[in-house]
């Protein structure tokens, strides 16, 4: 496919570091959009602040680069105002689960029809490698020089517990799978989230024994198990492994629709009253 149909070419090359996985996620998203044949005028990309949140600057959609952690709340306003728009939110692990954690769980609870792509590089890339809520315990961060003492979030588990319709996890190594997961998310009615595991070679890899972008890609290969396979493996073989695939896919009431049902109910009552 010709990615350039969806990019603001004059903004290229990308700002990201050598081997940063953000571009791979972006490409996967664009392929999904192309397959779905969506009209660029109807797509809105909303992002927060972070390396990954810079994605919105490159795509030729309606793009809103908001404040740190708040992208989902802005996106909720956009979607409510114009439900016919397709709203995609790009966000980092910090943006969506640290400062933005509350909007994350509430968007999931309302199950509003948005798609969230979490670029999970297990670190705050933009600000120089501080540990994030997904940095593994014991891992390095510039604010965890002796190893991180905090437990990490399972982003997907949290999204499911909060009420999201569709929850999936993929990696940039397994790019074909990622394409499918994102496409599934875009098609799903309700809140859909894809956690894309992506390398930050500059801060995460360099200090966490994955010295090169390629090493980080290979690490992904070695440490992931698909949900389908995982179901068949004994727990001890899953220790420390990342489970990929569609983890939750269910039909739950979607907020905008529920709201519109309410309006229609009122209209009907109103007509009745006349």
């Amino acid at each position: 496919m010709n990615y350039m149909n969806y990019l603001r070419k004059e903004r290229m090359p990308l700002i990201w570091c050598t081997g940063c996985g953000n571009g791979i996620v972006l490409k996967s998203l664009l392929r999904a959009v192309e397959r779905l044949g969506w009209d660029k005028n109807e797509i809105v990309m909303v992002s927060g602040i972070g390396c990954s949140s810079r994605t919105s600057g490159y795509v030729d959609f309606n793009t809103v680069h908001t404040t740190h952690g708040r992208a989902l709340a802005f996106a909720t306003g956009i979607k409510m105002a114009r439900p016919e728009l397709k709203v995609i939110v790009c966000s980092g692990d910090g943006d969506s689960t640290a400062i933005g954690g509350n909007h994350f769980i509430h968007t999931a609870r309302r199950n509003i029809d948005l798609t969230l792509l979490v670029f999970n590089n297990n670190i705050y890339g933009m600000t120089g490698g501080q540990y994030s809520p997904t940095t593994p315990m014991g891992g390095w961060g510039s604010t965890a020089p002796y190893g991180n003492a905090e437990s990490a979030f399972d982003i997907c588990g949290l999204a499911a517990a909060a009420g999201a319709s569709y929850v999936a996890r993929g990696t940039v190594y397994h790019v074909m799978q990622l394409d499918k997961l994102i496409e599934g998310a875009l098609l799903k009615k309700g809140f859909s989230i894809v956690e894309a595991i992506t390398p930050c070679p500059t801060y995460f890899g360099r200090h966490n024994n994955q010295k090169t972008p390629v090493a980080m890609m290979n690490w992904q290969e070695e440490n992931t198990v698909t949900a389908a396979r995982a179901a068949k493996l004994p727990p001890e073989q899953l220790k420390g492994k990342i489970i990929t695939g569609v983890l939750t896919d269910r039909d739950l009431p979607e907020y905008v629709e529920e709201y519109e049902k309410l309006v229609e109910r009122l209209r009907a009552q109103d007509n009745l009253a006349r």
């Binding site: 990019l7 090359p13 990308l14 571009g23 791979i24 996967s28 190594y173 790019v175 390629v214």
Partner: protein, 75 residues
């Protein structure tokens, strides 16, 4: 823009010639394309992927899909 064209070897799969294009100014030399290509089609040279074995290419597209910088195109 580096354009390399070669007729595909008839290994029973695709028959049109593979082309791999590199938008060199966008390439940052991460080596993902080269090191992860199962067919060792590239080697890294001067921080850029250099095609050394195009005939081995199976057009799996993975190098293109994984190039983070929109620098590689396989056609």
């Amino acid at each position: 823009m580096t354009t390399t064209t070669t007729p595909r070897p008839s290994n029973g799969k695709a028959t049109t010639p593979v082309q791999i294009l590199l938008e060199a100014p966008w390439c940052k030399g991460c080596a993902i394309c080269a090191d992860l290509c199962a067919k060792n089609v590239f080697v890294m040279k001067n921080n850029l992927p250099m095609i050394v074995n195009l005939s081995a290419c199976t057009r799996c597209m993975l190098c293109e899909m994984r190039c983070p910088d929109f620098a590689l195109t396989v056609i």
